[in-house]
Amino acid sequence: MDTRVQEIVLRDSSTPAIPNLEMGGNVLVTRLDEIVNWARRNSIFPLTFGLACCAIEMMSSAASRFDLARFGMEVFRASPRQADLMIVAGRVSKKMAPVLRQIYDQMPSPKWVVSMGACASCGGIFNNYAIVQGVDQIVPVDVYVPGCPPSPDALIYALIKLQQKIRTQRLGMLLELTPRTETPALETSDGTRAIEASDASK
């Protein structure tokens, strides 16, 4: 499973590349980064991707008591072409997995994925042949939310974490559309895996 995750993380076009730090540092682009990230993180359109009981909590967090509109996320889009964020709410069966991946591929970049609940994050109680043991085997996940199901405030906390992540993202890294040609060392000499190394650099 680990190998699978690494492959996706390395080849996916929306995965930020590790920038060349000596070439970077353009003052103008840095300021532009902040404006673009401000706009992006305050107008995230989620995709309606409710698969199970977590979807009830997802709907509840969009309703008046918790009100995702306060974060600019109230517009749940039925079309992946108009969505920025996929909240995978619920268990993903093996039959659903290619559908989920296709819908993810149809979303325009930049796009983010929140894996909501125990089932979507790692299979949860369904440790069996029918359920994908973690949606990060199919798509790169930005924020994981534990809970069965997570309460709306736990989901909103995750979305705030996502906003914090978007705040730190860089423009040049997001616009990388072609797969990277150079392959980072999957296993470095000290045994740390590439996925951890790329996480640390974000």
Partner: protein, 156 residues
């Protein structure tokens, strides 16, 4: 067509409902600044408790791991010695790990625990960026040592 009867009156009627709801008290909890009061028996992140003298309640019996429906608890027990004493019993949990991502917060571990060591509290802000960060070790779960009030005890 009567303008007043067919157009203006229905609009006024509709706007009356709008105004009534507009003036009602709002039920939105503006979450990051203001928190919803959690229910008394809310089950979220686990806490390993201590006795009042600072010894751990957990005796490493693995009953919680056995009761767990998703098998997200790992317990490795070791013997207490007179020089290194962690719990009042014979054994203590040398390693105690919970996969918070796999956990469904059902509270069966809390029910199974014979010493009341593991309880589920109301800390729900658990979301994170990597899967690795969800393995909660014993150090992360254990309640901090009770702070001794040295002034009250007269210790100088």
């Amino acid at each position: 067509m009567n303008i007043v009867r067919d157009v203006l009156k229905p609009i006024g009627k509709g706007l009356k409902i709008t105004m009534r709801h507009f003036l009602e008290p709002k039920d939105t909890v503006s979450y990051p600044e203001q928190r919803k009061e959690q229910f008394a028996r809310t089950r979220w992140k686990h806490v390993l408790l201590r006795y009042e003298n600072g010894l751990e309640r957990c005796i490493g019996c693995s009953l919680c791991a056995g009761a767990c429906p998703v098998r997200c608890i790992y317990v490795e027990a070791a013997d207490n010695t007179d020089t290194e004493r962690y719990s009042p019993g014979e054994r203590y949990a040398k390693r105690y790990e919970i996969n918070l991502l796999r956990c469904i917060y059902c509270g069966y571990c809390q029910d199974a625990c014979p010493t009341g060591a593991i309880v589920l509290r109301e800390d729900y802000e658990l979301a994170d960026y990597t899967r690795e960060s969800f393995i909660a070790t014993k150090e992360m779960l254990l309640e901090p040592l009770p702070v001794r009030d040295e002034v009250a005890e007269g210790v100088k």
